[in-house]
Symmetry: C2
Subunit: 214 residues, 2 copies
């Protein structure tokens, strides 16, 4: 499964030339800081060049949900996610971050001399947005599953097919996985134990080997 990023199909020199043209602003953030607040009027793109961050949404009652996680090379901004009225969307650092802010208008206006590369860049942005959309609907499909067991299996088999490994190691803690699956952590642990007993999987902590799907 091909992955797109901002610089897919672009040479280092054309990237540098374009970026000079964009006049990006580099900012640093330490752990726990808020990097970015989504607002309808913003026209900014953030490129994470160092560290890890998360996008959280807070609903009217103050309930927080994790929407996305970002690492080096990932982008965020209204271009990828318009805010919904009445909700607050914040990008916050986990580890200390370095972020390049670029005005979205600089990107969509071809600036003459580097036009062909610029089009490639726009193409990349579209496909990154489409990837994000895919990830969201995968997440939705997982949460959609009627039981914890099916949620887990859907997640695990997708993870396996993406990484191509079978004893696969979770890219997050079990607590974080429970949050992602929208289930209670202890109920999830119980289900994992049962699945081990029934011989579906063999797992220890974050490492999972999948024997059969049901």
């Amino acid at each position: 499964m091909k992955q797109y990023n901002l610089t897919s199909g672009l040479s280092q020199t054309s990237i540098k030339r374009m970026f000079r043209c964009f006049r990006p602003q580099l900012k640093r953030f330490s752990s726990g800081e808020t990097i970015f607040r989504y607002a309808q009027e913003n026209r900014l793109l953030g490129l994470l060049t160092e560290g890890t961050a998360v996008l959280r949404m807070t609903d009217i009652d103050g309930a927080v949900s994790l929407l996305d996680t970002y690492e080096k090379g990932d982008l965020f901004g209204e271009l990828f996610h318009l805010p919904l009225a009445g909700f607050e969307y914040l990008v916050e650092t986990e580890k200390g971050c370095q972020v390049l802010f670029i005005s979205y208008d600089h990107i969509i206006h071809p600036c003459g001399n580097v036009c062909e590369h610029h089009i490639q860049l726009i193409n990349n942005l579209f496909f990154m947005a489409a990837q994000r959309s895919r990830n969201l609907s995968l997440h939705l499909n997982i949460v959609n599953q009627p039981t914890i067991r099916k949620k887990l299996m859907t997640y695990l088999t997708c993870l396996c097919s993406q990484t191509g490994e079978n004893p696969v190691t979770l890219p997050m803690t079990l607590s974080a996985l429970a949050e992602y699956l929208c289930v209670d952590r202890s109920a999830m642990t119980r289900e994992i134990r049962l699945m081990n007993l029934e011989g579906m999987i063999r797992s220890s902590r974050r490492e999972f080997y999948i024997f059969r799907k049901e």
Copy 2:
């Protein structure tokens, strides 16, 4: 909450001129037909100019889930949703449809004379993708809610704030709503009855009046 569509901020004449340039293909589909199958290699955009359609995903076990619904003016295609390996994504008509297929490459390559409008078009496409992303994460947030009651209330209050009406009429059947909320239909009906008894809402069939949030 501002809504974007393909022609936001564009005059009829510049739209016509651009569309001639794109050489789109117009096709008609009758009810139940498959309009479009997502594939990594496609570079096509579909613009629904008549009728209604749905995007469904089928997972490995054959379980189907509804991902999106489209009406006149809506767009679909890989640009908005890259397919996930191992899943099948189909756009199918509900009512008879008329669809304009446009090659994505025509759109991202500015074609000389109508450049400024073209940029506006690209801008619109980005924001439509961002809107789609917002809708997905709203859906996720709703499904995320721990109980049927909270799912319903989150959905209903969002619907109210979007339409600005309080006795609000569902844009779908109760069965479809249950599917959207990822809950059992009869369990949802029971919960609606209880919420009426407790005086939170007053509802009859698809019409809901919301008194208080808890």
